[in-house]
């Protein structure tokens, strides 16, 4: 009896459509964002994350409408990320019905933004998204934070950045391995465990899920509090229910 591990389907949204690429290229269309989110809600998703992959101002407006429509009919927590740069962007998403926003580039540009955001709206709705890539491959691996869809290096160590963001008031970390994202090879478990063990706020593992055992590994070996996946759910390979049953079989507490 206790807190369950969360399964979070992630929708990469481009003009209201859900898309998924391998390392941010080779985009495939998976359908209407609203319809897909409703399907995941019915399957028992614990939360849903919407990521605006273009972060253009028109797409952001579409995102507001998607979130507004979802808030009418999906009664689980909704997180929105992509292009969240100002307090006003956060307010707009929360007013539309989002429960949390994910901040990435804006936190790197100005860490104080995270502090301001948490003090305005509460830490519970501020998720800091970290895109990390392994930069040192010998006996003591190191991961660096990247921006712009993994194209731009920052020189910042991913584990210390996660700790810093926690200290600045983030309520949760969304950790994506850029090396694994879209590959279906499973989470970068070493990265996940390093970050999860370094912070005392919840961490969502992301990037690389190709089968249900990867989700199990994320929790048991990566120590993740929640696991996020996209393509394994979008194309009907597995349902969220399948994922929960597999996790339960392996002794992980889930909400069935």
């Amino acid at each position: 009896m206790g807190l369950s591990k969360r399964i979070i389907p992630c929708l990469d949204v481009d003009h209201g459509r859900v898309v998924k690429g391998v390392r941010f290229v080779d985009i495939r269309d998976a359908g209407d964002a609203g319809e897909i989110a409703r399907r995941y809600d019915e399957q028992g998703a614990d939360e849903i994350t919407f990521l605006d992959i273009t972060a253009s101002s028109d797409n952001r407006q579409t995102m507001v409408h998607v979130v507004e429509a979802m808030a009418e009919q999906v009664f689980i927590p909704l997180t929105v990320g992509g292009g969240i740069r100002r307090i006003e962007d956060i307010r707009r998403m929360l007013v539309a019905g989002a429960d949390k926003v994910a901040i990435n580039t804006a936190a790197l540009a100005n860490p104080e933004f995270v502090r301001d955001a948490a003090s305005h709206f509460g830490a519970q709705c501020i998720v800091v998204a970290i895109d990390a890539k392994q930069v040192k491959r010998d006996e003591s691996p190191r991961w660096e934070v990247f921006t712009h869809g993994g194209r731009r290096a920052t020189g910042i160590d991913a584990v210390s950045w996660a700790v810093k963001m926690m200290e600045y008031g983030a309520g949760e970390i969304l950790l994506t391995s850029m090396d694994r994202d879209g590959t279906r090879d499973g989470f970068d478990l070493e990265l996940t465990r390093s970050v999860c063990d370094a912070v005392t706020i919840p961490v969502i593992a992301s990037g690389g899920v190709g089968n249900l055992d990867h989700l199990v590994d994320g929790v048991l070996l990566g120590h993740a509090d929640a696991v996020l996946a996209a393509s394994i759910f979008h194309f009907g390979e597995y349902t969220v229910g399948d994922a929960k049953r597999r996790m339960a079989e392996r002794g992980i507490e889930v909400r069935l």
């Binding site: 807190l3 009664f75 689980i76 927590p77």
Partner: protein
């Protein structure tokens, strides 16, 4: 003339995702009138009142006073079916240690404290339990209540909070939840019911609780 409209006032003091609360109430009670308001008179006129909340308790209490809502909130708590959610539960107690110490509304005896770091370990795995307590946890119903109707014992609800309530009167505890420690996840007396979790974000179980609230006459 038709039967009097069932009006529910959701207290709008500028904190948290109030749209979700309103949408969920509209969803479970399509014939009701859902009013998001900061007008004390509107609270007093409504048939039932929801006190939602997120963020910091100091800000919550300060906003109630700034908007001259305290008297109206206390007044409606005397008679009308009243539902507190999250911070709306914590604010009902005497005292919270958040923000260096904040006096609550004092409607329920008890206090609110930060999850104690030294006790935040999973009993089985020994792994550190993260704070905020975020996600789906079980509410163990310790008292029968009309608001629990149709909701399974130990059903899971969505929680997100770093402070927890410890009710001073065991008779007023409606549910407990385990997370490192055992805390009060629902409390109430007479026409007042309050929950630490977010029913508006807790899918079927949460919607059922809101539906029960919308038809509750305020008696147990």
């Amino acid at each position: 003339m038709s039967v009097a409209m069932n009006t529910v006032a959701v207290i709008d003091y500028g904190m948290g995702n109030l749209r979700s609360v309103c949408k969920a109430l509209e969803h479970v009670a399509p014939a009701a009138r859902v009013l998001l308001t900061a007008d004390p008179d509107a609270l007093v006129r409504a048939d039932r009142v929801v006190f939602p909340g997120q963020g910091a308790i100091g800000g919550c209490i300060a906003e109630l006073d700034r908007l001259s809502l305290r008297a109206a909130v206390l007044q409606v708590m005397d008679t009308k079916p009243f539902l507190g959610i999250c911070l709306g539960l914590q604010a009902l107690f005497d005292f919270s240690e958040e923000g260096g110490g904040t006096r609550g509304l004092g409607v329920l005896p008890g206090r609110v404290a930060l999850f104690p770091r030294e006790q935040m370990h999973d009993a089985i795995s020994g792994q550190v339990l993260k704070v905020p307590h975020m996600g789906w946890n079980q509410a163990h119903q310790v008292a029968g209540h009309p608001l629990w109707r149709g909701i399974a014992q130990d059903a899971r609800f969505y929680f997100v909070h770093s402070y927890y309530a410890d009710a001073g009167d065991r008779g007023q505890v409606m549910a407990v939840t385990e997370y490192g420690i055992r805390f009060t996840s629902a409390a109430g007396r007479e026409n007042i019911f309050a929950v630490q979790f977010h029913p508006e974000k807790s899918q079927q179980a949460g919607l059922r609780l809101l539906e029960n609230f919308m038809s509750w006459d305020g008696t147990t």
